[in-house]
């Protein structure tokens, strides 16, 4: 089961996946390649380090257990599809005490002046807080991009067409641009 962590650096996901299917010990190479990206994705979405670590554990456990089901050329979107579903489950489990992201964003959307509310606070000057003012669907497309997934992979993870992805991305970026410009105007963005 010994695996040289550096040995897979130059290999494609396809090659690493094939190796891991024949020798589970080789899964370490895929794990090393993606654990940081997966954790960051979870942390962005859950906004809690401990919850993000729990989710990351679940994601890689599921991936490891179900590796034979992964098609050869689709490891990254397959992995992030698992991540997407695990994070949704986390939201559901947190519902009694923590408002769902959808709920939070609905509140943001329904607020009289959400931008002002965010920008007027010094703590709202960070990008993360600006992202929280987007709808759940808009955040998803941006978070997958930040995780390194391209448009095609994002479509696969979210199960949406390119047209829908483009529409969500376009709306998200225009809204984010507006928020950033407002933040700059108020001097809250360093």
């Amino acid at each position: 089961m010994h695996t040289d962590r550096s040995s897979g650096a130059a290999l494609s996901d396809d090659a690493l996946l094939a190796a891991a299917k024949s020798d589970p010990g080789q899964f370490a190479l895929l794990y090393d390649r993606y654990v940081d990206a997966v954790f960051r994705y979870c942390h962005r979405r859950l906004d809690d380090r401990e919850a993000a670590e729990d989710a990351t554990s679940q994601i890689f456990e599921k991936a490891f257990s179900n590796l034979p089901k992964c098609r050869d050329e689709w490891f990254r979107p397959w992995l992030f599809r698992i991540a997407h579903n695990v994070v949704i489950d986390c939201y559901r489990q947190r519902r009694p005490t923590v408002e769902l992201l959808d709920d939070a964003l609905q509140m943001a959307d329904e607020a009289e002046n959400p931008e002002e509310r965010a920008i007027s606070s010094e703590s709202a000057a960070t990008l993360r807080q600006l992202l929280e003012l987007l709808s759940a669907e808009q955040r998803e497309v941006i978070e997958l991009r930040l995780a390194g997934l391209n448009g095609t992979e994002s479509m696969a993870v979210l199960g949406i067409s390119r047209e829908v992805l483009g529409s969500r991305t376009y709306r998200a970026m225009n809204r984010l641009r507006s928020l950033i410009e407002d933040a700059e105007a108020l001097g809250v963005r360093s």
């Binding site: 089961m1 695996t3 589970p24 010990g25 899964f27 370490a28 794990y31 090393d32 654990v35 940081d36 954790f39 960051r40 994705y41 942390h43 962005r44 380090r49 670590e53 990351t56 554990s57 890689f60 456990e61 490891f64 257990s65 179900n66 034979p68 089901k69 098609r71 050329e73 689709w74 979107p77 397959w78 599809r81 579903n85 990008l127 992202l131 941006i142 991009r145 930040l146 390194g148 391209n150 448009g151 095609t152 479509m155 696969a156 199960g159 949406i160 067409s161 390119r162 047209e163 829908v164 992805l165 483009g166 529409s167 991305t169 376009y170 970026m173 225009n174 984010l176 641009r177 950033i180």
Partner: protein, 547 residues
Amino acid sequence: MNGGPNRETERLLAFWDALQEGGAHLPDLDPGLATTVRYLHQNDPSEAVNPEFTARLRDRLLAGQIPAADGPAPVQTVPYPVPALPVSIERQASPSGWRTWGWRAAALLVACLGVVALVAGQDRLSDLLSADTPAIPTSTVASIDAPTQSPEPQISVDGMPMYMGNAARTGIADAAGPADAAAIAWSAQMDKGSAGTPVLADGVLYLGSAGGHLYAFDAESGKELWAFQGAGPMRTTALIAGDVVVTTAGFAGMDGAVHGVDRATGEERWSFAVENQVQSDPLLYDGLVIFGCDDGVVYALNPESGELAWSYQAGGPVSAAAAAGGGQVVFGSGEGMLTALDAATGTEQWTLSPPSELTGDPGDPNPGHSWSTLLILDGTVFVTYSIATQMAVTPQLVLAVDLETGALQWARDDLLGLRTSLLMPAPDGTIRALSMGSNEALLTTFESGTGNPVGERLVLPETENVSAAGGVIAGDRLYILDGGGNGEGSARLRIFDLTDASQVAEVPLPGPGDVGQVDGRRRPPLVVDGSVYVAKNDGAVVAIRDQ
């Protein structure tokens, strides 16, 4: 690529893709949007993972503390390394001998694999299998009569709008393909191989790829007209429904989608979400797009809007192609049930579970049920059925079931080999069973009313490796994709004359890729309008015509 109604959104996606790939040449984009995208990449608000956590999880994963996924491993019946079936020996056996050779072959397979022998079912078919059924002689020279008349239903050869040509899945028996002057007319390229057969209408070829694209090619020149990006790998043959082409996309075990795409522009008209991948080739019947899904549901959609007309909970994955006729749609499920629904309403009409006296005991509490071919002809459902366990695959049964009542009319276990088979009606009312496996391609003709074989079994010469590919009958010729068996680069199309079993032509296929299965599925080439269209594993699409 699909342009979409909003070019600015497409430019944004393209810009972001290019930036992620290194960004040497970024597409034009509104400066404000471009700045926002760059800002996001430079200010990722997330925090890095804790190295201690990473190491701890890594050790736990690799220490074997993660259990395997629940449920049986996916059954893959196609690529089994089976030995040659003792066809010629068993054909000379006692009157009951033909009933048992399949089981003996399965036992031989198990022995070869060094696992427990499959429980045989020698004398379990007596009630349903005709006792005076004649044995099947084997020959390398065909005695199949030339087609004299077209079967019902009549099918236009102007196009091939769905898998096996029509909702009854009868194929196009009188289609004309190339012969002794066959040569490559053009070759085009997709991003990945295809798990489906091309479909054709109005001179345009449509084909989905394992890379998640639906392509449209000009059938005459091979020019790519457009490519539509779906929600994941496409695992079925596309369906042409008016001015919409329907394709399925998605990952195993995860949400999938069925897309309705404008045939002229490649733009998405509608999308229908499902909860698993779709492997069941959609059909068009009485104005509805009908398909099964691995989520255990059979869906019927309006092809113009994508709206759900009805759905039926099957109780198990529906992965094989359904067929429709006589107002009913018939499908086999992963739970081992053959079911007929009213095609207009989805109301269950009857169900049939192949009785254990037919199937024997597979020795596995959760076997896989394979329905490799299903066709409807003259009020009868003909279906091939086998059981697969993690250790072995049983021989395929051919069942004939009354379409109206679901009553089993007859069953045989000696018409097919262990691997993928194809049933196609012949013009004289008989049915041909093409079985590609057992290190050879076998063609058996049988009476549709009784299942009794007609003439001699045709063993096609030098077909040792065709088990990796697919084949189809058109007119009096058989078109087989031969993987070559010698590694990449040896794939070829072989054309046989059914009247004398002679090989008419052999066309080497260009490129390094093979023509074997993609995503565990293998499909026949499309033969229509004097052409053969082949999709290779490397994503090449090849048109072959008489030159």
